[in-house]
Structure formats: structure tokens, C-alpha cells
């Protein structure tokens, strides 16, 4: 990757960059914005930026620091990994967030396109992702193709310079707000994996219909998406026909890394009120200052230990990656452990709060507790999407442990 040589030049280049980042943040991130992070709205719903938020977003997009390590030629920040860490540290100090940080384009599609896209496709699609101008959604799962994704049926028929696409996708995150969709489609019904092609579909095309799915948590972040005779130019095919499975799997790796191991999700686990403090508040303590419900206390200890061991494992994975020994075996467990910790935390919150932890809406509940109820339910998806825990265990058994296929 082409890093910026003029930044690497000084004797202590990282400290020079730190000064640069600090100055730039001082000039562009107003202290008033602190605590007003609305970046998740990029994922969870339509944008509703204040003028100040919009200005901050534009500044980050123009600078390319929304994707600090992406190449400058496509609008990225062109920073080294070390510089990107410095930037993150400096942003954390002033409470600045990455307005594009959680988007599908940044997390999943962009990295994949940088690897597999043509020069024209990169020039066309990467800059709007960097600046957060367009939203992407993922057209992978179908009603009959969940864990067994490669059994997907949505068909793209060759019609000369374009394809005619027919079929249905489901679990399309943010489909109702998306401008574009990266989709896996079938171009050959006689092969399973080799019959799959990676297409970019404009969501405003005639024949695209989107229907939000209501979840048990009450929210509707996903959609069913129906495609009827949708025209997709061949220029919007990434890679050759029949190579979509390889590209699509690579994208899933980016997804998995962001779900399980992302630095942000680990730090989120440490954020917020510790369960022990909450338990003391709700349950009280015994004569020795211990949470009065001994069994619950033990569960909280185990949970806290699980978090620490997870964080240490995350560090180990990062060290292994840094020392160029490639992804370690530990990587494979991250998604399952991350999911278990997240779900366990939600269940423990209910056990601590009792009935007050089961509020749905209306009077009589803490706002935090109401959020946690929804989060408890929505969080059950973490062990289902992006490769279920069962699929992860299959992968660990087969790829890491070398156990045979059971068929």
C-alpha cells in the first residue's frame, strides 16, 4: 500500500503525525460535538445530521480519515497502520467519532472492492463510500439459503450487455434506506459454488421492492427484498462470472472480523456501567461488601473473567497479525466468544434488574433498561448472522482441527 513518504520522513515520524492529527482535529472537531456520535444511524436508520454533525462528516470524508488506511487515489487517508492507531488515539482523546465507521461500505464492501474490483469500479464506488454519500446493503441470504448460503437461487440471466435479475433476498440490512446493493446471484444453475456471481445493483432500479422485517426486538433493521426483471449492466459485475463465491466469502471475512474481533466491539464490552456495580445497586451487599446474591455474583465474576480472557485473546490475535505470522488459530474463536459475552451480559442484566429489566416501553423504567431489553432480544442474532455459532464450530473443527466432513 502506498503510504505517504513525506510523513514517514522525520526522525520520529509517528509523533510528527500525532501533532498533525491533533491540529487537524482541533480545527475540525468542535468540542460541542462531543457525546453526539450519531454514526450508527448510518446503519440503523436514515440520517438526521445537525449542521455541525454534517460539517464533521464532510471534513472526515474530504480528508479520507473515515477510512484512514485506504489508498489516497480513491479518496482514502493513505495512512500506515501505526498512523491509523495514532489517529484513533487522538480522536478518542477529544471524543471524536468516525461518522462512516459502521457503514457496510466501509466495513465490508469497500475492502472487498479494493481487492477484486476493476479500476473503473474502484474509481466509481470507493470515493462515495469514503465520504458517506451512498449507503450499501448486502444481498446475500435468501429464504432457503441461510447458513448454507451457496444454495442461493436468485437468478441473473445473461441478456447481452446486461443481466435480468429475478428472485428474493432476505435479511437485507438497511435495505429500506440503501442506495446500492452488493449481491450474490446465480448465473449457472448446474453448479453450486461455481455458479455464483457478484453483482452491484442499484436499489432505485425498476423491479426492486423492499419490505422491512419486524424483529422480536420491535425494530426493523432488515428487509425482504424482491427483484423482478431487474436490469443490471454487466459493468456492475465484480470479477468474472462464476467467481462470485470467492469474492463473497472474502467479504464475509471482513464482516466476521468486524463482528467478533473489531477493536471497537471489544472496547464496547468494557464500556458502560460494570455489572458488579449495577448488581450492588439492585441487590445490595452482604456484611463483607459482596453482592448479596451469591450465585449471581459468581455468574458476574465468570462473565468479567470471560471478557478479560477475550480481550487478552484479541490482543494476541493482533500481535500475531502484527508479527506477520498471519491469522492465528485464535482468530477463529473470536466471533463465538464475542457473541456469548454479548448475550450473557444481556441475560445477566435481566437477572440483576428482575422485572425492571424486562420493560418494553412506557412509564416506570430506566431509559437504559428499556434499551437493554431491546438489545437483549436483538442480540440473539449475533450468534445467527454472519455465520452462526454452529457454522463457526464446523469451521473450527474442519479447518483448524482437521476433523473430517461428517457426510
Amino acid at each position: 500500500m502506498a503510504t505517504a513518504p513525506e510523513i514517514d520522513a522525520p526522525a520520529n515520524p509517528l509523533e510528527a503525525f500525532r501533532t498533525e492529527a491533533r491540529d487537524w482535529l482541533a480545527a475540525n472537531f468542535s468540542p460541542d460535538l462531543r457525546g453526539k456520535d450519531n454514526s450508527m444511524s448510518a446503519v440503523e436508520g436514515p440520517n438526521d445530521d445537525t449542521p455541525e454533525q454534517a460539517a464533521w462528516k464532510k471534513a472526515m470524508g474530504d480528508k479520507g480519515w473515515s477510512v484512514p488506511t485506504w489508498p489516497k487515489e480513491y479518496g482514502g487517508g493513505g495512512l500506515s497502520r501505526a498512523e491509523a492507531r495514532v489517529l484513533q488515539e487522538e480522536m478518542a482523546k477529544v471524543g471524536a467519532w468516525n461518522p462512516m465507521g459502521g457503514s457496510m461500505g466501509v466495513m465490508m464492501f469497500g475492502p472487498t472492492l479494493l481487492e477484486y474490483g476493476s479500476e473503473e469500479q474502484k474509481q466509481e464506488h470507493i470515493p462515495p463510500i469514503v465520504r458517506g454519500e451512498l449507503r450499501w446493503c448486502q444481498g446475500y441470504s435468501e429464504p432457503g439459503a441461510g447458513s448454507d448460503l451457496a444454495s442461493l437461487q436468485m437468478f441473473a440471466e445473461d441478456a447481452g450487455d446486461h443481466y435480468i435479475v429475478n428472485g428474493q433476498k432476505t435479511w437485507t440490512s438497511g435495505g429500506q434506506w440503501a442506495d446500492k446493493c452488493f449481491a450474490l446471484v446465480r448465473t449457472d444453475k448446474t453448479k453450486k459454488h461455481e455458479g455464483i456471481t457478484f453483482l452491484l445493483i442499484d436499489m432505485t432500479s425498476p423491479g426492486v421492492e423492499v419490505k422491512p422485517i419486524q424483529m422480536i426486538s420491535g425494530s426493523s433493521p432488515f428487509c425482504e427484498t424482491f427483484f423482478t426483471d431487474v436490469k443490471v449492466p454487466k459493468a456492475n459485475r465484480v470479477g468474472p462470472e462464476g467467481q462470485g463465491w470467492t469474492i463473497g466469502k472474502r467479504l464475509l471475512q471482513h464482516e466476521r472480523n468486524s463482528l467478533g474481533g473489531g477493536g471497537s466491539s471489544a472496547s464496547r464490552l468494557f464500556a458502560g456501567t460494570p455489572l458488579s456495580a449495577l448488581a450492588k445497586k439492585y441487590i445490595g451487599v452482604d456484611a463483607e461488601g459482596r453482592i448479596a446474591d451469591g450465585e449471581l455474583r459468581t455468574k458476574i465474576i465468570r462473565h468479567e473473567m470471560d471478557i478479560r480472557a477475550f480481550a487478552l485473546t484479541l490482543r494476541r490475535v493482533q500481535q500475531d497479525a502484527k508479527s506477520n505470522s498471519g491469522p492465528s488459530a485464535a482468530t477463529s474463536i473470536m466471533k463465538n466468544v464475542g457473541a456469548r459475552i454479548m448475550q450473557e451480559r444481556s441475560e445477566l442484566l435481566i437477572e440483576i434488574r428482575g422485572m425492571a429489566g424486562l420493560g418494553w416501553e412506557g412509564e416506570g423504567f430506566d431509559e437504559d433498561a428499556l434499551k437493554d431489553t431491546r438489545h437483549w432480544l436483538f442480540g440473539k442474532a449475533v450468534s445467527i448472522y454472519g455465520g452462526s455459532s454452529e457454522i463457526q464450530n464446523n469451521v473450527i473443527a474442519k479447518r483448524i482441527l482437521g476433523m473430517l466432513d461428517h457426510q
Binding site: S141, G146, D148, I213, Y282, E363, Q407
Partner: protein, 358 residues
Amino acid sequence: MAVLTEEQTMLRDMAREWADNESPVTAFRAMRDGAPAEMFASDAWQAQAEMGWAGILVPEAHGGVEMGFVSLGAVLEQLGRTLTATPLAATSAATAAIVLGGSEAQKAAWLPRIASGEVIATLVIDEGPRFAPDKIAASVSGGKLSGTKEFVAEGDSAGLFVVAAADGLYLVAGDDAGVSRATRHLADSRSHAQVTFDGAAAEKLAEGGADLLTQVTDRAAAATCAEMLGMAEAAFAQTNDYLKTRVQFGQLLSSFQALQHRMAKMFTELELMRSAVEGAFEAIDAGRPDVPQAVSLAKAIAGDTLHLVSREMIQLHGGIGMTDEHDAGFYIKRSRVLETMWGNASWHRERFARLGGY
């Protein structure tokens, strides 16, 4: 199944058939979507009263059938299977209190109206979000009860409250001027209310001895276990059915051995749960001295098992189980409420050990 008399078997089979045909989960969904003020299915409650279920614990002299907890449990289990939303469990808990602790006059005044379904009754103990029968601040002075109670089941519609005050249990009529209610919307879409008693006229339940409160809350917990047993059974059965229809990787999910073993282990826990829950009913009906142990055993195991089954129901259904369109969400939401009511698994394990002297 425990050994049932012929009469009990008939009752159970009738309840099962009724629940399957007249009160399937779609009825619960309709109630939730309609969100009536009383937060239960009033037509279903009407039907239950007509079938005499509101009088299962009521002595014949007061208009009931006096069939006991094994019978009540058999019915509540069937209702739990389909998530039937009626005040039968709450009313039964309050009924048990009156039967155990009421004077003849109190029984005569209330039990016939309960047995007929005219009055919905409920047991009112907690003043916080966790079960704590040893922390009652509500007090009675000059026949007037004052205190605020939290998360009262069927509190939106109850016509009679059996209320714990610091010195015992009291009857308070729902229409007393000193009673006010505030709905609490919980995840299970059932009725729970904050009920404030501000100098409400209260009549003490003076019979039943010093441990009346414990006897009554144990019966309330046992009734809850019955509902939990039915829910766990249904959640498990639906999951098993789903695995037999869903194909992934060219195979039915039910053919994957990893899932088979998870299901087998869950089935094992379910069988133990049934034994423990039915054991509690039998202990109550037999008037055994170890009712507290039997109930704590049942509630602890029921809590853990339903917790497991309701989680696995979603996980094994995959994405479809995460949607509101599917019933799995209803089961997990109601599960946590029942796990919490009348003492969660930790609470009951703690009591079990203390009763055992360790």
C-alpha cells in the same frame, strides 16, 4: 405425567384440547396486537370460568370443584403451551391465600365470585423488581392499608387484591377509593401494574398460621411452574418440528448430529423439569411438610430449563426465529418474566440450601 385420577385426566385432556383449538398462539398474538386495557384475552377467560377452572381450588361449599394443585397444574401447563393470556394463575394464587388464611365470612364473600369468574383476584407482595417477601414495608393502621406495590400480575383488571403488609396478608377490594394503578408494559405483553394503596380498606387473613405468606407464595410459584412446564414443552416441540422441515446443505437440520445431541440433552432436562414440577404439586396436595423444598426444587429447575429451551428455540430456528412474525420471541419474552416471578432460580437454590441447613 404424574399418576392422575380419572377426573384429573379428563380435566387435563379437556384443557389441552381447548388450548389447542380455542386458544392457540394466534390468540395471544391477536391480544397483543389489540392491546386491550385489561391485557388479557377476555373471551378466553370467560370460557375458562364457564368450564369451572377458576374454581379448581375453591371448596365445593363455596361454588368450586376443589380439585387441588395437581389438577390446577395440569390445566395451567396446557395454557402455558399456547401462551394463553388469562388471569387464571394470578387468581388461583390469590384463591389459595383465601382458602388457607380466610375466615368463613371472607371465604363466603369472595370465593363464590372467584369460582364463577366474576372477580379476578391477584396476589400482591413485592415492592421492588425482585422477589423479596422479607422486605415488606406496606402497613395497615386502623384497617387502612398503605404502600406501593410493583409489577402486580393482572394488576390492571384485578377486582380483589391479596396484599402483603408487614404484619400479614390482607384483602383489598379493587374498587376501593384508596387503590390506584399504573400499567407497566413488560416484554411479555401481559398485564403488570404498579398498584398504590393509599389508606385502602383492608381485611386481614387471620387464619393459616405464621407461615401463611410462605405457604401462599409457594403456591403462586408452583402455579407459575406449571405454566413454565407447558411453555418449555411447546417451545421444545416446535423446535423439534422445525428441525425436521428445514433443509440446509442438502440435509434436514434434524439429521445433524450436533443438533441431535443438543436436543437430546434438552429433552433430558425437560424430563427432570417435569418430575420436579409435578413433584411440587403432589407435595402441596398431600400437605407434606417439605412443600418449600419441593417448590424451590421445581422453580429452580423450571427456571434454568425454560431459560435454556427458550434460547435454543431462537438459536435453532435461525433468522426466522428472530422475526416478530414467528412465535419464538413470545416464548423467550414470557420465559424471562416467569423465571423472575416469585423468586428466580438463584433465590430458590439459596432457600433450598438454607432449609437443608447449609
